[in-house]
Amino acid sequence: MALLEVKNLGISFGGLKAVDGFNITIEEGQLYGLIGPNGAGKTTVFNLLTGVYRPTLGTITLDGKNLVGKGPAEICKSGVGRTFQNIRLFGKMTVLDNVKTALHNRVGYSELSCFLHGPVYRKKEQEMTDQAMDILKVFDLDRDADTLASNLPYGRQRKLEIARALATNPRLLLLDEPAAGMNPNETAELMDTIRLIREKYHITILLIEHDMKLVAGICEYLTVLNFGTELASGTPAEVLNDPKVITAYLGE
């Protein structure tokens, strides 16, 4: 059975149908790309999948379980992690604390321990720090563990966002333009990192991207969105040579 199944998804803001009749099926372990011109509704799809918006139509199921109507926090607990197009880090907290915050639902202790800092607190905090440092190491962010997140350079902030999303232990990871604003070297490095985390953590990835080199390089399957509806789906080679897609991007 597919990990994520979206059928006939739609949302209207007033009279505007931002997303209409959107379908997507993602198999376990796939690396899936969602592309489309500006304003096509890609980020809106992400917001629908993560519960930021409630769809007016359609169904979303993760591993057979319904996600429609659940809040973002619940959907995160069901196993969907995400990053944002415009970086949303916890700027006044350290890099390490950013990741530890994401471990909130995975390593727990009581309220009393929060106040008293007894042995349980110390043991669990150590556990959280170790887990967080492991994740940071994958992204080569461990040397910046004590830096405030807002003081990181842009490229590393992007990485930290992915690290934070990974810390929630998602089965499906949604990346919203992970390479936005990166130079070609950084993009190449990012591609390697995405491949690496996919193998290391055995997760399924759905990503939005404008950088065609990145999309063609790592995605196994693509869906093109235009004006809120699905324009084409298939392997990168098929889709990127589809006349409809070329028209949508470049015009007649």
């Binding site: 973002p72 944002f84 949303r88 916890f90 907290m93 321990s113 929060c114 800092h117 720090t129």
Partner: protein, 324 residues
């Protein structure tokens, strides 16, 4: 990592012991005149109020202007308990006072919950106005209730927490500061700060925003209530007028000057701003003018290179690593 946290524990312990020793020496050596001994408990009360308000304003990032409301609920609850129990000798004085502290805190926490739930959807200026209104409503209700003796207020409250019992006050104050410091260095504290920094991202990693907002409100109200009980048993009489919005603003000024989200800053600012009006008493007409100048000077210092330089200094940086 481990080393830093150990050093920090020692640093806290040293600060606590030294400040207690200083207060003891000043009192036992009769180095303070009456004017200043009467400031000791208000300093502790203001520290508790500032640190608890910092939890909501500095760490959760929501501006509230009704902190004096929570304080008054605690003060009246505690005072009524010790007036009814302590005096009739149903309970020995320490037990009555302990009960007063607990009930004062819990009653304030209950109101923190009641006000926290409906105003969750509000933010920024709207929340500030609603909490301001809440403070005024509490004041009016207390003013018109029979049990609180209306505008005449409560008097002859036993002085369990005046300066002769400064040890008790000191311990409660230290416990409050430690409890909130510990909370902010725990998973709940991180959740609260993540909401301040970016609520959408916080939700996306599984933090229940409303849950933690109410939690922060309740904890903050609890400690404000306890501070209110200490206040009531220090001055011995309560009047509703004491807890108007001026009091809330006064606490907010301490938090802002000490630095939003800095517990150490709140403590230092609370001491300075409680003592300052007394120090300036001699200057008579110029008092409020000088007070304002000092506020501005502190604000400038807070954002200055001098403070930055101090923070970059090796020893200072080690001491303040977590908080700066």
């Amino acid at each position: 990592m481990k080393k830093t946290s150990n050093r920090q524990t020692w640093y806290y312990a040293a600060v606590i012991v030294i400040s207690y020793a200083v207060v003891t020496i000043l009192l036992k050596g009769n180095l303070l005149n009456r004017q200043y001994t009467s400031l000791l408990v208000p300093i502790a009360v203001n520290i508790m109020l500032a640190v608890s308000l910092n939890l909501v304003t500095g760490f959760l990032g929501e501006l509230t202007l009704g902190h004096a409301g929570f304080m008054s609920i605690g003060a009246y609850t505690g005072a009524l308990i010790s007036l009814n129990l302590g005096k009739t000798e149903v309970l020995p004085a320490p037990a009555a006072f302990a009960l007063a502290l607990l009930c004062g805190g819990l009653m304030a926490a209950l109101f923190g919950f009641l006000i926290g739930v409906p105003v969750l959807r509000l933010r920024g200026d709207y929340l500030a106005i609603v909490t301001l209104a809440f403070g005024e409503i509490i004041k009016s209700v207390i003013n018109s209730m029979e049990i609180t003796n209306g505008a005449r207020g409560l008097s002859k409250i036993p002085l369990y927490s005046n300066y002769t019992n400064y040890t008790v006050v000191f311990i409660i104050m230290v416990l409050t500061v430690l409890a909130i410091t510990n909370l902010m260095n725990s998973r709940d504290g991180r959740a609260i700060m993540s909401i301040r920094d970016n609520d959408i991202a916080a939700e996306s990693i599984g933090i229940k925003i409303s849950h933690f907002k109410v939690k922060a409100f309740v904890f903050s109200a609890f400690f404000a209530g306890v501070a209110g009980v200490l206040y009531a048993h220090n001055v011995g009489l309560l009047k509703p007028g004491t807890f108007d919005y001026n009091k809330s603003i006064e606490i907010l000024v301490i938090v802002v000057l000490g630095g939003m989200g800095s517990i150490r800053g709140s403590v230092i600012a609370a001491v300075i701003l409680t003592v300052l009006p007394e120090l300036l008493r001699g200057t008579d007409n110029l008092r409020m003018l000088l007070y304002a100048i000092v506020l501005i000077a502190m604000m400038i210092f807070n954002n200055s290179k001098i403070k930055e330089g101090l923070m970059m200094n090796r020893t200072f940086r080690k001491l303040g690593k977590k908080e700066a």
